[in-house]
């Protein structure tokens, strides 16, 4: 994955490029908004990570300008402003995701990977998600594993749907709260973990290979370990 990090703080930028390179991504760095715009305009990046406050051209204007050029490269906005309306402004400017500072790198990585995968995915979502012997039929609202059907509550269904949609990718707790419950605050307790463990008890109980994995310090991942 090719990333462009537009960040004016040299130390933060160095930390990010190093961290992304360590996990195997190509990360370029632009130190101000205009440079970032010029580099992004050339294209070729899978995801842009844009600081909101930048010299010469602020992050929101940068993204807005790109969108006016019909450039749809997914962009994640990093911002020290973390209030409700700031997020809305960021997304309205054309950003695809919004992460308040300070953040955990694992959170940023998980979100960036989801964004890059979203771009590669076909425009229409499949009606069925399949991971190993676990099958989720989005139209019939049915989940089966092997030969047996798994009965899920509506919210559990949406939780599994989101996890399976991003199978093989790390999904963080805040991403789950955002996408399954549509809230963006920090729940401060293990409220999401309890939901996942309930789901896990229905999906994985009695099977040799678990589907839902806990990724320490980051979140969860649905992955077939049978192969």
């Amino acid at each position: 994955m090719r990333l462009l990090i537009v960040e004016d703080d040299a130390e933060a930028a160095a930390y990010l490029t190093k961290a992304f390179r360590e996990v195997g991504h190509v990360a370029d760095h632009a130190a101000d908004g205009l440079q970032g715009y010029a580099m992004a305009e050339g294209g070729g990046y899978d995801v842009l990570v844009v600081d909101r406050m930048l010299p010469r051209l602020d992050g929101l204007s940068l993204i807005r300008s790109l969108r006016e050029q019909n450039d749809t490269t997914p962009a994640l906005i990093l911002s020290a402003l973390a209030q409700v309306d700031d997020r809305v402004k960021g997304l309205r400017a054309g950003g695809d995701d919004y992460l308040p500072k300070p953040y955990a790198f694992s959170e940023l990585l998980a979100r960036v990977e989801v964004l890059s995968r979203r771009r590669a995915a076909p425009a229409s979502e499949p009606t069925t998600y399949r991971v190993g012997d676990l099958v989720l039929d989005r139209l019939a609202h049915r989940v089966t594993r092997g030969d047996g059907e798994i009965i899920l509550q509506p919210r559990e269904f949406r939780l599994l749907e989101y996890l399976m949609k991003h199978a093989g990718q790390v999904v963080t707790r805040t991403m789950l709260l955002e996408n399954v419950w549509d809230y963006h605050f920090d729940p401060q307790t293990n409220v999401i973990d309890v939901h996942v463990s309930r789901l896990r008890s229905k999906v994985d109980k009695g099977f040799e290979h678990p589907m839902i994995h806990t990724i320490r310090g980051a979140g969860y991942m649905v992955r077939d370990t049978a192969r």
């Binding site: 409700v84 809305v88 300070p102 419950w181 401060q188 309890v194």
Partner: protein, 507 residues
């Protein structure tokens, strides 16, 4: 490179600058401008009044003169009719000798003087009958300084002419008197006006100057200073009262900020110290990579907690300044409450509590879904933390939402230890944690945040005794009922009370 054109004008006014500044400053004061305007208006008005009086006086005198002349002519005509020219000449001879302002002259058809007290006339004065204003002399020695008079020329039979008139010296003297009086009174008006309006303007502007003086001292750091209020209730008083109210409000906000920063300093120092100690301890005594890793993990957790506190504090501060107002939108509170109850239900079960929700459908209001959701999450979180049943009470946390008197009442109730009545107001303050909760995780910001959210939405929050336990009640203003077309295919809401329109406006 020298540019003389630039240097010359800059250099010349440098010398007399000190003296020149004093006068322009005076011209620039509002007192001076007001005084000048008053004076001009006053002088114009006085001039007009005096002019009118003078003009009327002249007209009156002229009328008098004319009627005197008319009466004399009538009398003389009578005499002439009775006794012919000779009798007329005799009478005029006699009258001319009497002192007075009356003028008489009788001439032959060729202009030879027969009788009268006029020695010289301006040429052609006798040619036309009728009234005119002319110059004349009574005797030959005053011929160089003629007097003025209003005269009437009368044609007598056989070409004789009669002139009767009145000297205008009296009238002209009166004119001089009036002009002099007008001049003096204008001067007086001018001088008095200068003093009066300067006095009035100074009196008003002195108060304004005092105000700006006070403002200056407040800016210089005397934050307790207030503008003087005279108690007359005039415009300046009202201005002072409003500015004082503004200063009070600013003072309150600053005191609030001060309190927050004090609290932050106090309550963040503890975890920061802990973080630092932990890092230092790891550096000193950790021997294996695993020990170091654990210490680092613990440090990150500690840092995350600090970030949470910061975020919560920032959010509370923002709620209190009401800066999220523009993100209000119509929302269904029923959906939020049901969703939150559902979100926390597994957590409650894990804590050995039953989470029950009783939610009336279609609770519509205007608000911010995220904020209300978070406030509710905080309350449910608290209930799960502190709601472990006391004694034989049921392990139950109950979340309800229903209409109540045009408002929406949202409550979270538990059967835990509750909060003593004396502490119920205190717990809304930032960082306040009661002794019983010290052992549990948390920062004492959850209720403050919920209270901030409720206030922002124009509602109220209060704590009640759930006998046993605690019930937190949030009253939020409801929106107007749905329009008719959508309401028709749904059952009417159970409450028949009208929503409070005032509540809507604040939402």
């Amino acid at each position: 490179m020298t540019r003389p054109a630039d240097i010359a004008p800059a250099g010349t006014p440098a010398a007399p600058r000190g003296k020149q500044r004093l006068l322009p400053n005076l011209f620039r004061t509002t007192a001076f401008k007001l005084t000048a305007i008053y004076l001009v208006i006053f002088a114009l008005f006085a001039g007009f009044v005096l002019g009118y009086v003078a003009w009327n006086a002249k007209r009156l005198l002229d009328d008098q003169i004319r009627s005197t002349i008319d009466a004399e002519i009538q009398g003389l005509a009578e005499q002439q009719r009775l006794g012919g020219i000779r009798r007329l000449v005799n009478i005029i001879e006699r009258r001319s000798r009497a002192p007075g302002a009356s003028l008489y002259l009788v001439t032959t058809p060729v202009g030879e003087r027969l009788a009268g007290n006029v020695e010289a006339l301006q040429p052609g004065a006798l040619d036309h009958p009728g009234e005119s204003e002319i110059e004349y002399a009574r005797s030959s020695d005053t011929i160089d300084s003629p007097s003025r008079a209003i005269v009437r020329v009368f044609m007598l039979p056989a070409g004789f002419r009669l002139l009767v008139g009145r000297d205008l010296e009296e009238r002209d003297r009166l004119g001089v008197v009036i002009r002099r009086a007008a001049g003096w009174s204008l001067l007086l008006v001018f001088v008095l006006g200068i003093f009066a309006s300067w006095f009035v303007a100074r009196r008003v502007l002195k108060r304004i100057d005092d105000m700006s003086e006070t403002a200056h001292s407040i800016m210089a750091g005397d934050l307790k200073g207030r503008l003087a209020v005279t108690g007359t209730g005039d415009e300046l008083d009202r201005l002072a009262l409003n500015l004082n109210a503004m200063l009070d409000r600013i003072g309150e906000l600053m005191a609030g900020m001060q309190e927050v920063s004090d609290n932050i300093a106090h309550d963040l120092k503890t975890p920061l110290t802990r973080l630092r100690n932990r890092a230092e301890e790891a550096l000193r005594s950790a021997r294996t990579p695993d020990e170091l890793r654990n210490a680092l993990d613990a440090s990150i957790d500690e840092a995350d907690n600090l970030i949470r506190v910061f975020n919560a504090l920032l959010m509370i501060a923002r709620l209190e300044t009401g800066r999220i107002n523009d993100s209000m939108a119509p929302l269904d509170l029923s959906e939020i409450v049901s969703g939150m109850a559902e979100l926390y239900e597994p957590l409650a079960e894990e804590a050995g509590l039953a989470l029950e929700s009783v939610v009336e459908p279609n609770l519509l209001m205007s608000g911010n879904r995220e904020l209300i959701g978070q406030a509710l999450a905080n309350l449910i979180d608290n209930a799960l933390k502190y709601g472990q049943p006391v004694g034989a009470a049921k392990p139950l946390v109950c979340v309800t939402a229903a209409r109540a008197d045009g408002q929406i009442a949202l409550s979270v109730a538990d059967h835990g230890a509750g909060i003593p009545e004396a502490d119920r107001n205190r717990v809304f303050e930032r960082f306040v944690r009661l002794d019983q909760s010290r052992s549990k995780p948390g920062f004492g910001l959850g209720l403050s945040l919920a209270a901030g959210v409720v206030r922002l939405h124009g509602g109220q929050i209060r704590l009640e005794d759930n006998e046993p336990g605690l019930r937190v009640v949030m009253l939020l203003p409801a929106a107007q009922p749905k329009p008719v077309e959508t309401a028709s295919n749904e059952p009417p809401p159970p409450s028949t009370t009208q929503p409070d329109p005032a509540g809507l406006q604040t939402a």
